[in-house]
């Protein structure tokens, strides 16, 4: 099962056309394994991107250098997934007939 330990989902809001264009270019860079949950649309519209642990710091540095502000939307993706899985398993167990 693929794990997402250390993955974060960042919310980025482009402030101007230059930032927008930069983020659009970033969408096409497959090497960083970025997963755009919510794609780049317009200035002031939030972009949501999942960044794997190995590229997270690099992405943050690039955004900082370009003066593009971001906030973590999901701090630790795997923690949320674990929670979701726990709930599903609890429910599945509750369905099993008791002796």
């Amino acid at each position: 099962k693929e794990l997402f330990k250390g993955h974060q989902v960042l919310q980025i809001i482009p402030k101007n056309d230059a930032q927008l264009a930069f983020l659009k270019d970033l969408e096409d860079v497959l090497e960083f394994e970025l997963d755009f949950w919510k794609g780049v649309t317009a200035v002031s519209c939030p972009v949501h991107v999942r960044a794997p642990f190995q590229f997270l710091q690099l992405l943050k540095r690039i955004l900082k250098r370009k003066d593009i502000s971001y906030v973590p939307m999901i701090d630790d993706l795997q923690a949320v997934l674990d929670e979701e899985q726990k709930e599903i398993e609890l429910f599945a167990r509750s369905l099993k007939p008791k002796n």
């Binding site: 997963d35 919510k38 999901i74 979701e84 599903i88 429910f91």
Partner: protein, 306 residues
């Protein structure tokens, strides 16, 4: 199906069992048809809600074409139960079903859904390998023969928006295409995605307005107003290209160009706290509010034959 837990996400096998149970409980209203097979040979099942007649005007609803958008498959299950519960008691739905059929495909991309359950929760695409690439799958919402290959989709198999080698190359897409073409009487087509709270209409591949844009726009406005009346959830609406971005080869551009005027795509909750990981406790509220919008679209389709 009364004891089915609609506030939980379910495995594929549980959804299949639910569908069979719903059919068994409502033999005079619901039947299951299999319109094809997924790449991994799973049945592509569609629930048909019909009170009789042959080849009546019809409404198509699908959920789960993008595997990881779990709120959509879960909402689809809730819609199925809602239809059988409300038929005979809700006058508007009863009127619709006495004259039209409703087709509901709750797991449009079953291979992908199973993969999200067992291997990779973040999987979006189909599961067909791409020859010459280690990357698997095609974005089934870029695989339709409408602006296929134009900007707004990727030609790279490793991209999440990979359009596929050719239009309708994915069996999950081709099955719907064949069904729609053979049926000839589908009058509304609603494909349901998540997230970002939007209701969108054609076009995605071109900025040219559709000839029905004014009507589609005002119906979208009515639908999202009805939706918001329940919990105040705010939606935006408009054409795909104007509201989000250029998206070629998408579902509703194709259905609209097939002559299905009321072609819409939803993006359900939320706007940025959970994304694809919408907590299960939001399933029922999401489905309830979406149902109001669906009813607006279905009622309008029923009252405005073309």
């Amino acid at each position: 199906t009364d004891s089915f837990n609609y506030s939980r996400y379910h495995k594929l096998s549980e959804i299949y069992s639910f569908q069979d149970m719903l059919v068994a409980e409502n033999p005079n209203l619901v039947s299951k048809i299999v319109i094809g097979q997924s790449y991994e040979a799973r049945p592509l099942s569609v629930l048909k809600f019909s009170t009789g007649g042959t080849n009546r005007r019809a409404i198509w609803i699908d959920t789960g074409i993008h595997a990881r958008e779990w709120i959509t498959q879960a909402s689809g299950i809730w819609f199925a139960k809602k239809i059988v519960k409300d038929y005979g008691s809700d006058p508007a739905l009863t009127d619709i079903l006495n004259n039209m059929d409703i087709f509901l495909e709750t797991v449009t991309n079953p291979d992908g859904y199973d993969y999200t359950q067992n291997s990779n929760r973040m999987w979006r695409k189909t599961r067909k390998p791409n020859p010459g690439s280690s990357c698997v799958g095609v974005d089934p919402n870029r695989n339709w023969d409408s602006g296929f290959g134009e900007p707004g989709a990727s030609s790279n198999p490793c991209s999440e928006t990979y359009r596929g080698p050719s239009a309708h190359s994915e069996s999950e897409v081709k099955a719907i295409v064949d069904f729609v073409v053979a049926h000839k009487n589908i009058k509304a087509f609603v494909t349901i995605h998540s997230y970002s709270q939007m209701l969108l209409y054609p076009f995605g591949y071109t900025s040219a307005p559709s000839k029905d844009e004014a009507e589609l726009h005002s119906l979208a406005q009515k639908a999202i107003t009805d939706l918001a009346s329940l919990y105040g959830t705010r939606y935006t609406y408009g054409s795909i290209i104007d509201t989000i971005y250029q998206a070629s080869g998408n579902t509703v551009d194709w259905t609209y160009e097939q002559g299905i005027k009321y072609s819409y795509t939803f993006e359900l909750r939320d706007t940025g706290f959970h994304g694809f990981l919408l907590p299960a406790k939001q399933i029922v509220p999401t489905a309830e509010e979406t149902w109001l919008a669906l009813m607006a679209i279905m009622s309008h389709t029923f009252k405005n034959p073309y």
